[in-house]
Chain length 292, copies 4
């Protein structure tokens, strides 16, 4: 395969400190005769055409930047290469201090592409979709400040259980290391295609994380309550408030996120556990591989 020739660079629109990094990366690409574009303050709508015609997109920032870039790149199957400026980052592949050393390898396509499932969330009313969107981490249905909500929950059309909780997290495997993890959820392998459901602060109702069968659709029907205000958010961004009679339906999206990976295919658990469990003593390097 020939080297990469068309690359986009996306700074984080709400973090101005990412703009100069984007400019430096773009300059490095141009020096290598790669055609590139840079967007600093952007929204999904206005970068779509540029993304569509790129081979990969380099996104700068933390996990939030990766989530934004993923949503715009996924419909066009364009892979994202993350350069991490944030503290915690499960999605980005490079950091501010190593992107330069790895840039040539990227241009020579010395990487593999990791695909990750997304979920598609629709707010439905009398069978009609009111609003919808994709998410790489999770859809969250939550009450306002200090208000418990009651949610009838159906799997493939059949009632499964009714949650009394602050919120309900419906997550992808990628999202299993995000908000769901803070609520007792398990860590799922990134290539899984199953939806994870975790309640936040469940009160005398189902309190175990639930992984659904591949292909399942989950539908959530809030129990009407005069003072309840219920919001739906995708990857931490508010989608809408629910009105009475509106349900939330979540299933696997037709799109997948693609990430550029330079590390070995086994990178996930090592990288994750280093961040989650700093109290665990590191064994010496020679003890980190099993002898066969």
């Amino acid at each position: 395969m020939t080297a990469l020739k068309h690359i986009g660079v996306l700074a984080h629109p709400l973090r101005p400190e990412s703009a100069p990094v984007a400019a430096t990366i773009a300059a490095a690409l141009q020096k290598r005769n790669v055609s590139c574009w840079v967007e600093t303050v952007w929204d999904e709508h206005n970068v779509r055409e540029r993304v569509r015609h790129s081979e990969i997109v380099i996104a700068i920032g933390g996990d939030g930047a990766m989530l934004r870039a993923s949503r715009v790149c996924a419909p066009f199957s364009v892979p994202v290469l993350g350069v991490n400026m944030g503290q915690l980052g499960f999605l980005a592949e490079l950091r501010l201090d190593d992107w330069q050393a790895n840039l040539d390898a990227v241009l020579e396509r010395e990487y593999w592409i990791e695909r990750r499932m997304m979920i598609h969330t629709s707010v439905v009313e009398e069978g009609r979709v009111v609003v919808s969107g994709d998410a790489l981490n999770d859809a969250v249905i939550s009450g306002g400040i200090t208000r418990m909500i009651q949610l009838h929950t159906f799997i493939d059309g059949d009632w499964a259980t009714t949650y009394n909780a602050d919120a309900l997290i419906i997550a992808t495997p990628t999202g299993s290391t995000a908000y769901a993890l803070a609520c007792g959820g398990p860590i799922l392998p990134p290539e899984l295609h199953n939806i994870l459901i975790v309640p936040v602060a469940p009160h005398l109702s189902m309190d175990r994380p639930l992984v659904l069968s591949q292909g399942a659709t989950v539908e959530v029907q809030p129990v009407p309550h005069p003072r309840a205000e219920i919001g739906v958010s995708l990857d931490g961004v508010m989608l809408c408030h629910l009105r009475e009679g509106q349900n939330v339906r979540v299933r696997a999206s037709d799109h997948a996120s693609r990430f550029v990976r330079l590390r070995g295919r086994n990178y996930f658990y090592r990288s994750l556990l280093d961040r989650l469990e700093p109290r665990t003593p590191r064994p010496k390097p020679e003890q980190r591989k099993l002898k066969r």
Copy 2:
């Protein structure tokens, strides 16, 4: 397909009250001109040949009986039909009070077969397998009474983390509703092929349930300790005590358990949640299906 003609009946060898049930079922089969055999006090070794030549095996008892029957039937791909005498039962399909009403449907093959992943556990020493076995629920590596153990844990040969815990549960999706559930594990869909790892009473070490990639091998290396006594059990039955220098290796088994199912393919969540969460109020029947 023709009706079933060769059926085995296995009582629970340690629960004598299951023997008369087995006899009654056998009589009902014979009345219908089905050739059958009955075993009441049996072990894996002495029923193997009979199992091999049966079309299905009816197992009587609780989940323990299903686990025993599965282990002997799986290598011959013989499906198990469970008749539940116990209180809790996630595996059996019929109960003492409904097997008769359903027997003809079974004989006419009006069922589907549910396959469930098993795990294969080997105790290895200097590359050599000392002892091994299959399990449908879980392999548990545990210290004796009140003794914390330390377990270096490798995924596909690479060090992942080191647990300080009472025990480590390495479970199948079927096992996710058994012991692992008592330790904060998630509920996994029965058809998944991924291994679940959950520590029991983790102390300042990794405390989140971990689901592995399909096909992964996990290997556990106990940190030697003069007073530690470490046992390995499969589905609650002791396999062996570990000696210093012995590791425990777990991967998906080449065999799968097969269960005879008369209920719809959607049965799992409904049946599970009814048992786990009796505090949740049942909606009226007309509210248990989503209108489409």
Copy 3:
């Protein structure tokens, strides 16, 4: 002691169905020549004088009604007798179907008074108290929908830890069976005088429930964040939104709630565990007392 002669009756101001119950109770009191007053739609301000001159107050509704009645009765040391209309009720002593049978015993003072600690919460800015209030269950500091907040937390003036969480619950022992319980908190005995701190959905930060020393003051200082909206609520009722530079200070209140109890002093664990754990089989009555 002479029989009760002055009793107030408080319906739940937001639950109109409690008004006729209040009227019936008042009629029963008047028939017995007890002087009484009834309030149906009331607020703390306008019933204060009537409460002050009552010997006990009968409050009708669920736990919410008890919390409201407690806040208005506590400053005057007036005990509350709860008549439960709700499903879950840890505070009320009687139910709709047994208050009549017990009314004469109450009037003859055949009860004991249970005192329960309250907490006093102040929002402070540059050393000045902006707003404050008492709570019987908890003070909750929480972010808006799907927004994690960061909270520096000080115990008696010294930094203890910094939470990354959806919310922080600062609860009394009474509150340990309310919201805190849904977030993994322990059950504390009602007569304890210690504050309990439990984070909601803690993310890579302190995740254990913390019980403070008696007399301790906890002060919470939100880390400023441009998009964070932080609210403070007492017993589920919003007190205020926090502005930058405002801290939340919580300590034991000078007031205690008083509840009229007819059951034995040992009632708490039995009553609680019946509600929390319906899956546990009840032993036969003769097995519920230890032989000495």
Copy 4:
């Protein structure tokens, strides 16, 4: 008060590397004309008389050494000063690298004494005590390897609940930071006098930590099971195996442990949270005190 003149030094009987430390400390004491004794390989019985006539005892090792020293010192109200050789230490006050700098302050009694509640555990059979002992951390009633046990649990003689679990931990506030913490228990302030109950791996039974009223007695009655083997241990040391018909009774001990403290009375939360939550970023020193 005059300076200390009679001090005992206890090495850890099972950790020979603590013996030279004990010798060095004793030499330092003798140089300062303090009368002292040293025991390296000792048991409770043979040091009792020496302990009884000491003003304080210096114990060397980790938390295990503190627990041993406490049990022998508590009946004589002799305070323990811990010198920590282990990694984790919630009880010791000094470390290998700072005891020398603090020794003169200790001799001049520039310390305060922290008292900590102990529990007294009796195994009873037909009203008769079979064996008993004190513990500073916890009494644990546990099944053998992979065996769930069923435990009827009575508080002050009344049935409270029945646990299905691997084990039941009955802990002091000191023990709340030990084994109980690994099972989801709360952190209790060291001066509390209440017993904490936490089940290990509870299965469809009460799963919340329970703090009892001060003065309560808890009695545990195992449900007989042919294959169950049940052990009772105190502070991690086996007390006995239970025979059928034997119950375990736990209440506050008449003795308390006393620890020599040089740090401020506020030391507990700071010290604890540093060890439990290394992921939390430390604020700058000037931000660790609230301005008043």
